[in-house]
Subunit: 246 residues, 3 copies
């Protein structure tokens, strides 16, 4: 059993976070809320999302798995205004999820979750930790987009920078510790990432949010932020590209 | 002889209504105003439009036929602000319609109307009649667009619904009689229509308007609404798709 | 040596003017400011731009040539708000121009200017001179765009018109002397121009500006306007298309 009511903008935040990596997703629902863990088809990135039941206007659920076509849900939510309440009900018999907003009912066939994996979050030792406004990062990413396909994240005790080096040009975005929410980096660490993945992840973060990043040396980056006004949390993990020695 | 002045937004309403079905159109002009009747190339839909002379700022005409390239007129009107006055003059000798707005004069060659048909409006006995806000309908249509190519319109004594059933999913939009301007349906009637035609027709209705629909069982739907602030009227007729028995 | 600070909107004006004709450009820099003279690849149009040092917040330069990829600069400037200050520094050793705005540094490789020509501005005797608002011209151009590929500019002692004649249709835009900033045309002069070039030139003029045009009979048109709030000036020259006699 699963039935709930939620503001459309909260569901849109969830859809934005998930659609960055996958088209279809398996949500785990239980009495406390819902969680999702998914890996993109190329196995380069992982998302781990938790949305507590208090993020909903109403929430009642037994433990169950629900497979959703994220594109369809996204499309449907575009019809709703931010503060519309979306009514969700699991029709177990017909294997559908039914959404109602205003005069409109959409009955959506669920996706078979049998073959969908349950990725494990790897345990990582990432020495640097920092907090920065997502809008600042997005601005720096935009400046990088035409210069190279990769972006280096570099933290040292005093500042954090994103560096994008093409054959001809270079873009550098830099913040000192005093202009950031937090920066703890015992030494200089640097890892290189695929720009498009990193960019898409940051675009899924609600504007105005703080993003916490954990960073190492040629190690994955962990990107954490809150959704649903703090009643949900997301953690992205993105694999590094190992730099050649030259 | 035909010469007139009209607000650009009224001409834009006419163009929106007509361009939904045809690229070229034959307007009948006489001392009382203008009328147009046209069928789309696939013979699935018909438009019947009347614009009284009081919809114009100035209007003087003898009885004549005028063949217009609707795309060209639409393009020209995009240059005008809603409240610009467009000056129209028929140059019979050069077979042109001349439009003036502000500093700009566009002299447009008329289309030969010799081969253009004069469709008859069929006499139909449609038992259900209802009045609903166009914006509500458009919202329901948008929800349906990715689900199927067809939409069923269903009226019964208590409510009116649009139903779009795909292989996997279903969209239902429903209004009860009390939330509508009017609903008279002695029994349940249902007809199925091509979604794109129906959608395009409704998009041509000025936002905020009431739409009157006449509906039967596997019969065409008649969609009526006012344009030019009530000084013009439009009636669309759309052929049903007969549902197979399964 | 060249280093300067400038408001982003002023640099955007320069980029708009230049990108109309060329993708790569050679700027001449000296203690007084910068100048550029370029011809489009088809040798149909020329731009002559001057930006005085007082258009900059700070400006220090020895005489030098700087080859810039205009697309890249345009892209970079899109990241800046109009009133952002852009810091520019020539790194002679690495043959780069370095731009800083906010947290972002872009280091841009310069283009080799060795092969780039130094066009001479031809001396022309253009009898008609007129001043008109660019927005009026742009409006008239838009009305012409689908009618023909060419536009005739016609001046006589009393008015100025742009005339676009297609096989079927005709667009005429006309201003009388009393509605213009100035009109001096001893006789009727008329020249025909490629519409797209003329349109692109006018789109590069800052909205709200006065444009001065010099016109002759089957002669180039000279289009002059100010940029940088009067601290820079642009002169475009566009070759006529000679009309066939029929």
């Amino acid at each position: 059993m699963f039935q709930a009511k939620a503001r459309a903008d909260i569901l849109k935040e969830v859809v934005n976070v998930v659609s960055t990596l996958v088209d279809e997703a398996k949500f785990m629902v239980n009495a406390d809320g819902l969680t999702l863990r998914a890996v993109d088809p190329a196995h380069i990135a992982m998302v781990d999302l938790q949305l507590g039941k208090d993020a909903f206007e109403e929430f009642k659920a037994d433990e169950t798995e629900i497979g959703i076509d994220i594109d369809k849900l996204s499309q449907f939510l575009k019809l709703a205004r931010s503060d519309d309440i979306v009514d969700i009900k699991h029709d177990e018999e017909k294997r559908r999820l039914n959404f109602v907003v205003g005069d409109i009912t959409r009955r959506m066939s669920l996706i078979d979750t049998t073959g969908m994996s349950d990725p494990k979050v790897p345990s990582l030792n990432l020495p640097a930790k920092l907090v920065v406004k997502v809008d600042d990062l997005v601005h720096g990413i935009k400046a990088s987009e035409s210069v190279s396909d990769h972006i280096a994240l570099v933290a040292n005790p005093d500042d954090f920078e994103m560096l994008c080096e093409g054959d001809m040009d270079q873009v550098q975005w830099k913040k000192s510790k005093k202009d950031m929410g937090m920066l703890e980096s015992p030494s200089t660490v640097r890892s290189l990432f695929p720009l498009e993945y990193f960019s898409n992840m940051l675009k899924a973060v609600p504007s105005g949010s703080d993003v916490t990043m954990h960073l190492g040396n040629d190690y994955p980056v962990k990107v954490e932020f809150k959704i649903a006004g703090g009643k949900g949390s997301v953690s992205y993990l993105l694999a590094p590209r190992i730099e050649s020695g030259d």
